[in-house]
């Protein structure tokens, strides 16, 4: 199975989008004649593996290297750097070029910025005195399909940039990427945004339409009906909770990178130990598509059923000799799904070894208690304990952030105490981390009463699960907690922001409800408010497409919730998710921890 997802079932023609990215890249490689060394930054190399087989690049005479601080080892007379516009990479590039000089190497250097050239980066190249030696170009990769319904802007640092640094580059990037989508699929007539970055992105998108309008004359109806933009900041609660869906747990425990997880080959049932294997995870795998969004224990049952039924068939085939050819064929066909079943049996088993631990249960339990804002003392002590035990700092912070958010902060005494315990346990180098978290409002001193309970009641975030096998609400995702972000999307789709305006004011950042597009389509959009659900199902066979954009990241569990929603009866909507990055609580916090420690934020 390939790492590059099959996009044929996508609600939007994402294949064309990906092919354009392929073409752009190949054109760059082709435009530089002869043998060349293509140096790619490490993160981008992962991204590109979602776009094309790297072997294709080799066909065009490109030798591949990953950018690092070390000098470049290659025989090629031409060196092509393909790097994202980040200052640290510029220093790498400069170092490599400078290290060629004393060796007397006469090389031609090309630098392609992804997605565009940036003054701040070129400045560094100038200061390092290598700018003159470079031929500079751009590779406008703003958006990559991760799967048939998930797009990624590949902005790992968006959250900390927006929330802590005040650098809104990623907001511009998001707006630009959506604007580019509009050139292919039409101007999106409805926009709903919540949060500082999202509202800004909506505004930028409008400006871009003014500056560089999408011509709708020969396009027909826009393919995307509604754009919903949400800041991660609006709902920091959800990512702090442990995900319980299959995909969510895979990401939490093993970390999914570019649509694959890396595990020991022994886990996947191979004989030789110690080797790592990459397992691709996307909806091209039919079974995975079926089970990725289910609770892990349901996944186990589904996989078991499939396996046993094949086994029964096998037994039948073996015992009786009366099957017709067509029946046999049918059986053989089902046998083909065996590798898929085996793969997920292995992975589920591996996950279970984590998820069955009492400590995991205890943790999920405490999360629930924090969410319900019950038993403050117990929660406080739990957090105190895990700090003193020196559990991984991500684990500690996830709970602490959750605790602080639901309680609108901690009383000063507790706040200072826990902070001191953290510094004593993990080192004083985390001072700026705590300061940054405080600035971002994630862990702070209590100054007012918490409105979390009110929000949670009004939006029915805490729901008792009746039958975990046949869920009827998105709260199944977190075994009784419906993610706030997705509840907001649910409202936004159903009736716009108007119905929950008061509630929105309790959450960070402004909100925005925009109608736009060419005058020709404005008439149809005027009917929309209030009757959205009806109208979209009225048109026979037509399902409206809603693009939900998360600035600052989204978890697999939330994507699962959106898929669940669109699969509900009477929902005339398909969702397409676009995110700066697919995150877990850990991968969200880790860069903040690391950058704070290095003093880079």
């Amino acid at each position: 199975m390939a790492q590059i997802p099959n996009l044929d079932n996508s609600p939007l023609n994402l294949t064309a989008l990906r092919e354009q990215s392929q073409k752009d890249l190949l054109n760059i490689v082709k435009s530089i004649r002869g043998k060349k060394c293509l140096v790619i930054d490490p993160k981008l190399a992962g991204t590109l593996s979602l776009i094309l087989q790297t072997s294709v690049l080799k066909e065009y005479g490109a030798e591949l290297r990953i950018l690092s601080a070390d000098p470049l080892q290659t025989e090629c007379p031409k060196v092509v750097y393909l790097v994202r516009s980040q200052p640290n990479y510029m220093k790498f590039v400069a170092n490599q070029i400078k290290s060629d000089e004393p060796k007397g190497l006469q090389r031609e250097y090309f630098l392609y910025f992804v997605p565009r050239r940036i003054v701040a980066c070129e400045k560094i190249l100038e200061e390092e005195k290598v700018h003159q030696k470079l031929t500079i170009g751009e590779y406008p990769l703003y958006l990559v399909p991760l799967d048939e319904d998930v797009l990624s802007f590949e902005l790992d640092y968006s959250l900390q940039e927006c929330l802590i640094e005040g650098d809104t580059s990623s907001v511009w990037h998001v707006a630009k990427a959506i604007h580019k989508l509009e050139f292919a699929f039409g101007v999106i007539p409805n926009i709903r945004a919540k949060g500082v970055a999202s509202s800004k992105a909506a505004e930028l998108l409008n400006n871009m339409q003014l500056e560089d309008p999408v011509n709708m004359d020969n396009m027909g109806m826009p393919e995307i009906d509604t754009l919903i933009l949400l800041d991660r900041e609006v709902d920091m609660v959800t990512p702090m909770c442990s995900q319980l869906t299959y995909e969510g747990l895979l990401d939490e425990m093993l970390e999914i990178h570019n649509g694959t997880v890396e595990v020991d080959s022994s886990i996947m049932g191979a004989q030789q130990d110690g080797k790592k294997v990459k397992v691709p995870l996307n909806s091209s795998d039919k079974l995975y598509k079926e089970i990725r969004d289910l609770n892990l224990h349901v996944v186990v049952q589904v996989v078991r059923q499939k396996a046993t039924s094949i086994q029964q068939d096998y037994a039948e085939v073996k015992s009786t000799n009366t099957q017709s050819v067509s029946e046999l064929k049918d059986f053989v066909k089902r046998l083909h799904s065996l590798p898929e079943i085996a793969r997920h049996v292995n992975l589920a088993q591996h996950l279970q070894s984590f998820a069955a631990k009492p400590s995991f249960h205890a943790r999920v339990e405490i999360e629930q208690i924090i969410l319900e804002v019950e038993n403050y003392e117990m929660c406080f002590e739990y957090i105190e304990d895990i700090i003193q035990k020196q559990e991984p700092i991500e684990t500690v912070l996830r709970l602490l952030v959750l605790f602080s958010l639901t309680n609108a902060g901690l009383p000063k005494k507790n706040f200072d105490y826990l902070r001191r315990e953290i510094l004593h346990s993990y080192g004083f180098e985390h001072m700026s981390l705590l300061y940054n978290l405080e600035k971002a409002g994630l862990v702070k001193r209590q100054e007012s009463r918490s409105n979390w309970v009110g929000i949670s009641r009004a939006l029915q975030l805490i729901v008792d699960i009746k039958d975990p096998e046949k869920p009827d609400d998105i709260s199944y995702i977190f075994s009784g907690y419906a993610p706030l972000s997705i509840r907001l999307v649910q409202h936004a789709v159903r009736s716009g922001w108007r119905s929950i305006e008061e509630l929105l004011k309790l959450l960070p950042g402004p909100h925005l409800d925009l109608k736009r597009g060419a005058s020709s389509i404005s008439s149809s959009s005027e009917v929309l408010p209030g009757s959205v659900g009806q109208q979209s199902t009225d048109r026979v066979g037509h399902r409206s497409l809603v693009l939900v954009v998360f600035i600052g990241g989204v978890t697999s569990a939330e994507i699962a919730a959106l898929r669940f929603l669109s699969a509900q009866e009477g929902m005339g909507y398909d969702f397409l998710v676009a995110t700066t990055k697919v995150i877990t609580g850990n991968t969200l916090l880790r860069p903040i921890i690391a950058s704070s420690k290095e003093g880079m934020i």
Partner: protein, 870 residues
């Protein structure tokens, strides 16, 4: 058919083909602008006559303008003309467009020519080149000539221009070609030595233009003695020796580059392929005197001009002779030749087949009948219908021919008549494409508009198609005919942006006396006509013309920030640029402005403070600066924090520096912590200056203390394992090393709470396997947080029996159950869990469903593991 006769009467028959001379403009005004502007003379029309015989003249193809300079090698009778020479520019209709004084003391002018983008080129006899822009004849790039020949060449003997270049034959018989004559800095190349002997003479030269040569570079043909040689960069080739042509006196290459017309010394005119493979035809002229001019008329005939006689020679039959009692100039076009004389502009071309079929004498072609039918119809004669019946089956061709023929006419009434004939046929012919006639009307309207003597571009329809509408619009713009250009653009649905843009720039250049506000209104009026036009480009022009204020006003209207902001910077509107860049949301633009301001400010004194002031008021700019500065401009960042009162940020920066010291150990070994502690102390003091950062100041203080304590520990234990670890880790290390006293000291110095102390000590003792000490520790007193630390320490160390000791002491049943579970003691776990349930601990049971699937999965896994695939 009487009406047609008069038309054909003007035609001349050359073998089986008709040719016609159309008088386009006559008489020509030729009034020299020099006299009108100087106006000192009587202003009589005769006084300003441009006399071809006394001027060096160039005319651009495609109905382009005419340039002239008086030829000072000829004796001229000065009437009332000024004695100083001027460079004159006329339209094809003879209207003066511009003139400028010819710089005196230049080397003699050899020839004038137009480049394909209509710059005027003047080649001087020393081989240097002057170039002038139209329509104002401004020298470009400067008024000093560009040398094309090496200084020793002896000057120009002969030269041939084509659209993009010039080939020069030098006095010392070498050939230099310049193929990029339009660029500011052309690169002349010398071709191979043609090998002209001492006593030989180059009789004439011609050039096969680069687009007709395989190699893409021009090929120069030279007639030397009784041979013709082809010269290019690689070598010289003698052509057609077998043909025995003899000395060639005059040559011309056909418009398609394939044929050569050569006038031999014995009076023969030969037409030869350019590879000299054979003689296609030859004609013996009456005179052996070489003609003054030789030119191709289309591809079918060659024109030879001797004073007063113009001879047109075709492949068969007798030539046609025209007489002129005044000097003329032949201007070859793609489909014929324009003939310029002192009094008129004519166009000589082959009569198109469609025209012959209609107007040919005695023609009974369907088209002729249709044309006639229309005539009858207009006269209300029933014969119209008779004609129609005769041609009904071939009506479409007839209509087609009438439309086409209309296109070839210069005479508007004849265009009308032909189109009328076509429209008469159309109702009878439903399948005839509707668009054809509209298309032709459109083209003719454009052509008639530009042929107007006021404009003076006598384009034929074929020339127009070859030139394209876009280029025509460009030419009109360059002739400052903006209104017509705009109308044509709108009429043909072309983007009017180029026209309006050019107009705006010219307007600015020409309006030095108009106040900014008034000019702005005038400009905006027109710029608004074109959506998406770049105001920034117009503004940039205004700035270049020295009107910075106008530029600032214009750039305000630019909607694209990426164009607007660089311009704002270039006109010193930094504040506005910063403001706009922030509004644009494009952080890259904000950086652009920031770097610009930073660089500008850097050269001034007291600079950083100004810069800090500017950015501090704007959060996005400030934050971006901070982000960037963290990477490479630490000192500036610190200054910024201190000067704007962000003491805590400065303190954090100091902490960062202290950590960097830790990572890059300097030479001063042993006392490493001293500079580090100094930085942390500084940070502490900065934190302490504000109330809000009490926690941070305390922490910094503790941090410094910890480093000192750790340093002392390293000294006393002689082990470099402490510095850089946390308080908790320090305690653990001490305990693990058996140094209880040191651990206790750290505990008290840092006021470590008892609860944490129990976790740390239990863990450290278990790690080193000191179970007795652990037990003793558990019995010291009742642990403040219960026995959990002991249980977990033992489980983590894999000590089941030790663990059970402490599990029994746990008070919480749920915890007990969990601990047993971890040890794999399922029965005990169940029992404890039961107890927990009874205690009403429903929280524990809530998530039980994730438990207990292990066994099932194990069996499945075994079954599939043999497959080994995933």
């Amino acid at each position: 058919m009487s009406s047609s006769v008069s038309v054909a009467a003007e035609w001349d028959l050359l073998s089986d083909r008709f040719y016609r001379r159309i008088t386009i403009y006559s008489p020509l005004p030729w009034s020299s602008p020099a006299t009108t502007t100087a106006s000192s003379s009587g202003g009589g029309s005769g006084a300003g006559r441009l006399d071809l015989s006394t001027h060096i003249v160039a005319a651009a193809p495609f109905g382009g303008p005419i340039a002239a300079v008086r030829d000072d090698s000829k004796i001229v009778q000065l009437h009332s003309e000024p004695s100083r020479r001027r460079l004159l520019l006329f339209s094809s209709s003879g209207h003066p467009l511009a003139s400028s004084p010819w710089t005196p003391h230049l080397p003699r002018l050899h020839s004038l020519a137009f480049s394909s983008s209509l710059n005027l080129l003047a080649l001087l006899s020393d081989g240097s080149l002057l170039r002038f822009r139209l329509p104002d004849l401004k020298p470009i790039p400067s008024s000093s000539p560009v040398p094309l020949l090496p200084p020793t060449s002896g000057g120009v003997a002969d030269a041939v221009f084509w659209g993009g270049g010039v080939a020069i034959l030098t006095e010392d018989n070498r050939v230099v070609v310049t193929a990029d004559i339009e660029v500011d800095d052309p690169h002349p190349r010398e071709l191979a030595d043609p090998g002209v002997g001492e006593d030989e003479q180059v009789l004439c030269m011609a050039v096969v233009e680069p687009q007709f040569v395989m190699s893409g570079s021009p090929e120069v043909l030279l007639a030397v003695g009784d041979r013709v040689v082809a010269v290019d960069e690689d070598g010289v080739q003698v052509l057609g020796e077998a043909l025995e042509i003899g000395p060639v006196q005059k040559m011309a290459v056909s418009p398609n580059g394939k044929l050569l017309a050569a006038f031999a010394h014995d009076g023969r005119l030969l037409v030869i392929p350019t590879d000299f493979s054979r003689i296609i035809f030859e004609y013996e002229c009456d005179s052996a005197l070489p003609p003054d001019q030789i030119a191709w008329c289309g591809l079918d005939s060659v024109l030879l001009y001797w004073p007063e006689v113009l001879l047109m020679v075709g492949p068969n039959g007798d030539p046609v002779q025209y007489n002129y009692d005044e000097p003329i100039m032949l201007i070859p076009e793609c489909d014929g030749v324009r003939i310029l004389s002192n009094s008129s502009m004519e166009f000589l071309h082959r009569v198109p087949d469609c025209t012959t079929s209609i107007f040919g004498i005695g023609s009974m072609s369907p088209a002729a009948l249709l044309y006639d039918a229309r005539d009858h119809y207009d006269k209300q004669s029933a014969k119209a219908y008779d004609n129609y019946q005769l041609i009904s089956s071939s009506l479409p061709e007839a209509i087609e021919a009438c439309i086409d023929a209309a296109g070839y006419e210069f005479d508007v009434s004849r265009q009308h008549a032909l189109l009328n004939a076509a429209t008469y046929g159309i109702p009878f012919c439903s399948q005839f494409p509707q668009g054809r006639i509209q298309e032709m009307c459109k083209m003719l309207r454009v052509l008639n508009a530009v042929r107007d003597p006021e404009i003076g571009m006598p384009l034929t329809i074929q020339q127009y198609k070859l030139l394209t509408a876009t280029v025509l619009v460009g030419r009109l713009i360059n002739a400052n005919q903006h209104l017509l250009a705009l109308r044509i653009s709108e009429y043909l649905n072309l983007n009017p942006e180029v026209v309006i843009m050019h107009w705006a720039c010219e307007k600015i250049a020409a309006s030095t006396a108009i106040p900014d506000i008034v000019l702005l209104e005038g400009l905006l009026d027109k710029l608004r006509l074109c959506k998406g036009i770049s105001y920034a480009a117009v503004a940039a022009h205004a700035d270049n013309s020295g009107r910075r204020k106008l530029a600032a006003m214009l750039v305000d209207h630019e909607s694209q920030s990426s164009k607007q902001i660089p311009l704002l910077l270039s006109i010193d509107e930094q504040d506005k640029a910063l403001q706009k860049s922030i509004e644009s949301g494009d952080t890259d633009l904000v950086y652009l402005v920031l770097f610009h301001i930073w660089q500008k400010v850097a050269v001034e004194k007291n600079a950083p403070l100004d810069f800090f002031g500017i950015i501090n008021a704007r959060p996005l700019a400030r934050d971006l600066f901070m982000t960037y500065a963290r990477h490479s401009k630490h000192e500036a960042l610190k200054d910024f924090f201190l000067s704007t009162g962000r003491l805590q940020d400065a303190a954090f920066l100091l902490l960062k520096e202290s950590r960097e010291l830790e990572r890059n150990p300097v030479a001063s070994k042993g006392s490493l912590h001293v500079p580090q502690v100094r930085l942390i102390d500084q940070a502490y003091r900065l934190f302490a200056e504000t109330k809000e950062h009490l926690f941070e100041s305390k922490s910094a203080e503790e941090h410094a203390k910890l480093l000192r304590v750790q340093h002392n520990l390293e000294v006393s234990t002689k082990q470099a394992i402490f510095v850089g670890s946390s308080v908790s880790d320090t305690i653990k290390t001490c305990i693990a090393m058996g140094n209880e006293r040191a651990a206790a000291k750290v505990k008290s110095e840092f006021k470590v709470p008892d609860k944490r102390w129990y976790w740390l000590k239990a863990c450290a003792l278990a790690t080193v396997g000191n179970w007795d000490a652990l037990e003793a520790f558990s019995k010291e007193k009742r642990p403040p947080g219960g026995y959990k630390p002991f249980v977990e320490a033992c489980i983590d160390a894999g000590q089941k029996t030790e663990a059970v000791k402490y599990i029994l002491k746990l008070t919480n049943s749920a915890e007990k159950s969990e601990a047993y579970e971890r040890l794999g003691m399922h029965e005990e776990a169940k029992a404890a869990a039961l107890q927990a349930d009874n205690n009403g601990d429903e929280l524990f049971s809530r998530l039980k469903f994730t438990l207990g699937q292990n066994a099932l999965i194990d069996t499945l896994r075994d079954r599939f593991s043999s497959q080994g695939t995933y």
